[in-house]
């Protein structure tokens, strides 16, 4: 990535009504007390890249209206965060209405944006430091996968699992159809049900054998066996008994059992969907978004909105991408809706099966039913059909009301059961006691003849579906294992990096005092769609693979959390990308902060760092480290002095004071520089006084002015120390001291409405500026000044 951020402009965003944070392509460290707007700057960066702030979404976010929470409370104007880049001078602004980041004109900026992972992967906040350590394995895994931008792997895994479920559902339905068909041959007296078609044929032979049917080993012999038995039956009753047997068989088919269980599952899904719907207005638009996306896919390049017919201001591609992103954001909803749709299909299929059965009975058997029962059934069937129609239409709606199984289903089943008993009674009455066995045998064989093709087809479908299931299991297993192995490769690399960072922070020069964490592993623990990630350490080489919380102190856990995060960033994020650390070092002690600073400066020198803190020690420490490495040109250090609702953060000195002075040190403007010169002089004096430990009258909250240092004798003190350090340069030092301290009222004249203002010349002002610069350089050379200038 060649681009870096020049500045970030916030408008009506949280506590930043109209604010610009200048980075000039450098790293920035921002120091300020609690409530000074530091986190709002970080929020803005997160908003730019993801439109939403993680802490306003998901678990624990309560009823926060996320869109409202990121607006400035007083500002009515359009909220926006704008990133301006360097070396190209383009900026990209994201408004609340931009569901995707607007496309940049320069390809290098677009590349910069595209190469950034999800915001969580480069913006770390203090509250998230311990998340990876305290999280349950499954949650840790999901977070990690998301952080690494590997969601596609899990989405693919999920699709494989769903595919396996779909095939399993098909297999189950085939098995169910076979079971239903075989159930008709159940002998309740013997508590026997055939396992397959061949068992049916064997039973046929068994029941026919007493009636001189000697051979019945092939299905082709069934007709002749029936003829043999038929010849022995009473001619007067056999026709009626055959009809009754058929009707009785039909009535044995029960109401599909899955109706009740499917409705219960659907109601659970509806409850979840209602919950999601209540949390987000966007859910209500879910259907429109999905439809819109489909329309855009089918009509590439359209220029007008298909609904309102207005021209697409953002153009086809941007609008399409925005729809796609909004659609993706509704992932949980889509998943539940998919499950709902599948369950509705199962329910409709089961109900249709019941209706088909009732139609068949009406067509073939109603003439045999007791008077009145047929009419009652017809009436109830009409009610049932109406309910099925309603269920079918439910699929298109997104109201998610509870489904209640209508009583008519049980009523129909009860009537059929009564009719069944009545028909059995009639058949038995028609059968002579001596002919009971014969009639049973005939009934069995006729049933076998009728059902043989259906059972054969069901068996074949079952065998096919079983083969498919095994094939699908192989496919799913292949992907699961490949995923597990690939993901583990990544986790091993991260674990190696985490351990090296942890050693950097904790290994001591004293050989006897080494880091207590001697090994570390990140292990993928499950091959299911929702995997797990176990974090374990080896403690002092004694205890292997154990939860770090069992051995490490809170401080060490914090630094382990930081190492985990930084290792992930280092391993996965692109060189040149952003790394934002929002107040993450609070619980780490001084010694280890030194090492964190070194780690950041050494291992993340190719990133653009944004480091915020409310800890002045850390702020100063980072400055010292930057100075010691001679990298002050790569950093900006910014102090926020106060924050007000109307103005937002205000700097201790306005940004770029030296830049401002350089620009305005010309004839037309130099008289306006009084305030700026006072700022840089006081900043210089403060840092020198701090370093040489000058005794200055104490002012609360650092409210020192130049006079305080002059009274404390800074001029003589500094001169003596500089001459002591560089005796050969005494005359130049004396000259610089008098250029800065001997200018009398130059700054006062320039700062006030004073006739003396007109007497100050540009040459005198330049001389003061050059003297101050030279003096600061001398102080830096001899380590007589703290920090970095404004």
């Amino acid at each position: 990535m060649t681009e870096r951020i020049r500045e970030i402009r916030f408008s009506s965003f949280r506590g930043l009504p109209d604010y610009t944070c200048k980075l000039n392509g450098k790293n920035i460290s921002i120091f300020g007390g609690t409530g000074k707007g530091k986190s709002a700057i970080v929020d803005g960066i997160e908003f730019f890249f993801s439109r939403s702030l993680r802490r306003f979404h998901g678990e624990g976010s309560g009823n926060i209206d996320a869109d409202k929470a990121i607006r400035h409370v007083l500002k009515e104007e359009q909220l926006s965060v704008e990133l301006a880049f360097i070396p190209t001078n383009e900026s990209v602004r994201r408004r609340l209405s931009d569901y995707s980041i607007p496309t940049a004109t320069h390809s290098s900026i677009q590349e910069y944006i595209n190469q950034h992972p999800p915001a969580g992967a480069f913006v770390l906040r203090r509250s998230q430091l311990l998340e990876f350590i305290h999280d349950q394995e499954a949650k840790r895994y999901q977070k990690y996968i998301h952080l690494l931008g590997l969601d596609y792997i899990d989405a693919t895994q999920k699709s494989f699992v769903e595919a396996e479920e779909m095939i399993e559902t098909q297999r189950f339905e085939c098995q169910q159809r076979l079971n239903d068909a075989l159930q008709l041959f159940r002998d309740p007296d013997m508590d026997w049900t055939p396992a397959d078609l061949s068992a049916v044929l064997t039973k046929c032979a068994e029941v026919a054998q007493p009636f001189s049917v000697d051979t019945l080993t092939e299905w082709q012999q069934l007709d002749s066996a029936i003829s043999v038995l038929d010849a022995r039956r009473s001619k007067e009753t056999k026709q009626r008994i055959d009809a009754l047997n058929l009707a009785i068989d039909h009535l044995k088919v029960e109401t599909p059992s899955e109706i009740e269980s499917t409705v219960a599952a659907l109601n659970q899904l509806h409850a979840q969907l209602r919950k999601i719907q209540a949390k987000s207005e966007e859910v209500l638009r879910g259907g429109v978004i999905e439809e819109g996306l489909k329309y855009f896919q089918e009509h590439p390049g359209i220029t007008k909105c298909p609904l309102c017919e207005k021209t697409l201001e953002a153009g086809y591609q941007a609008t399409f991408e925005r729809l796609a992103e909004r659609n993706r954001a509704l992932g949980e909803l889509r998943d539940l809706e998919r499950q709902r749709s599948e369950k509705l299909d199962v329910l409709v299929t089961a109900l249709q099966r019941l209706l088909d059965q009732l139609d068949k009975e009406q067509e073939e058997d109603y003439a045999l039913y007791p008077e009145g029962d047929a009419q009652t059934l017809i009436k109830h069937c009409a009610a049932l059909q109406e309910w099925v129609r309603l269920i079918k239409s439910t699929k298109e709606q997104r109201t998610y009301e509870d489904i209640i199984v209508p009583p008519v289903i049980k009523v129909v089943q009860s009537i059929r059961s009564t009719i069944h008993n009545s028909l059995v009674k009639e058949r038995d009455a028609l059968t002579q006691p001596a002919a009971v066995a014969l009639e049973k045998a005939v009934g069995f064989l006729q049933r076998a003849k009728e059902k043989e093709p259906e059972i054969r087809a069901a068996e074949s479908a079952k065998a096919d579906s079983l083969k498919l299931r095994h094939a699908m299991q192989d496919v799913q297993e292949a992907f699961s294992r490949a995923r597990e192995s690939a993901v583990q490769t990544v986790f091993d690399k991260i674990a190696e990096k985490v351990l090296s960072y942890y050693h950097k922070l904790h290994d001591s020069d004293d050989a006897n005092e080494s880091s207590e964490c001697t090994g570390l592993s990140l292990t993928s623990t499950s091959r299911a769609a929702a995997g797990g990630l176990q974090l374990a350490i080896e403690f002092l080489g004694i205890v292997d693979s154990y939860d770090p919380r069992a051995f490490l102190s809170e401080g060490h856990l914090d630094s382990l959390g930081l190492c985990l995060y930084l290792a992930t960033v280092r391993t996965f994020n692109n060189s040149g990308s952003l790394l934002v650390l929002d107040d993450v070092l609070t619980s780490i002690d001084m010694e280890h902060r030194h090492r964190v600073a070194e780690l950041l400066l050494e291992d993340f020198s190719d990133f653009q760092l944004v480091v915020t803190t409310h800890d002045e020690y850390w702020f100063n420490l980072l400055q010292s480290k930057v100075l010691a490495r001679g990298e002050q040109d790569k950093w900006r250090f910014k102090q926020i002095a106060r924050w007000t609702l109307e103005k937002g953060p205000e700097s201790a000195a306005y940004e770029g004071t030296w830049d401002w002075i350089e620009t305005n040190l010309v004839e037309e403007n130099y008289r306006e520089l009084g305030g700026s010169l006072r700022l840089v002089l006081e900043d210089f004096l403060k840092r020198v006084a701090d370093k040489i430990e000058l005794k200055v009258k104490y002012h609360i909250a650092g409210k020192y002015v130049a006079g305080d240092f002059n009274f404390a004798g800074i001029r003589d003190n500094l001169r003596e120390r500089l001459i002591e350090e560089a005796p050969n340069e005494e005359s130049e030092i004396q000259k610089d001291i008098s250029r800065v301290f001997g200018t009398g009222d130059l700054i006062n004249f320039l700062s006030h409405d004073n006739p003396g203002r007109l007497e100050v010349t540009l040459t005198e002002t330049k001389d003061f500026v050059n003297g101050l610069k030279s003096l600061e350089q001398r102080c830096k050379t001899h380590k007589l000044i703290k920090g970095i200038s404004l």
Binding site: L148, G149, L150, Y152, I153, A155, T156, S159, F160, E162, A163, E165, M166, I167, K467, L468, H470, A471, M472, D474, V475, E477, A478, F479, R481, A482, R483, S485, A486, V487, T489, V490, K493, R570, T571, F572, N573, N574, S575, G576, D603, F604, S605, D606
Partner: protein, 78 residues
């Protein structure tokens, strides 16, 4: 340092990083193919189609089912 398709490395300002995402995709695709070819129930053609699916931006369950059941071929023939 990023590893490109040919396995060459490029240094980035002296600090080493690895393009693990691409490497991960490669390992995943190769391992998946290797394991699929070991299955007696998956034909060479199905294996090829399933591996092709992995290169897509997103895969739906019904896409996978179509390949495994052979519906995709019959649709294509139609």
């Amino acid at each position: 340092m990023t590893v490109d398709a040919e396995g060459q490395t490029n240094s980035g300002q002296g600090v080493e990083t690895t393009d693990l995402k691409s490497e991960l995709r490669r390992i995943l695709a190769e391992d998946f193919k290797k394991r699929l070819t070991q299955s007696e129930l998956i034909s060479e053609e199905q294996c090829k189609r399933l591996c092709n699916l992995l290169t897509e931006e997103s895969i739906s369950a019904s896409d996978i089912v179509k390949v495994v059941t052979g519906d995709e071929e019959s649709t294509a023939d139609d």
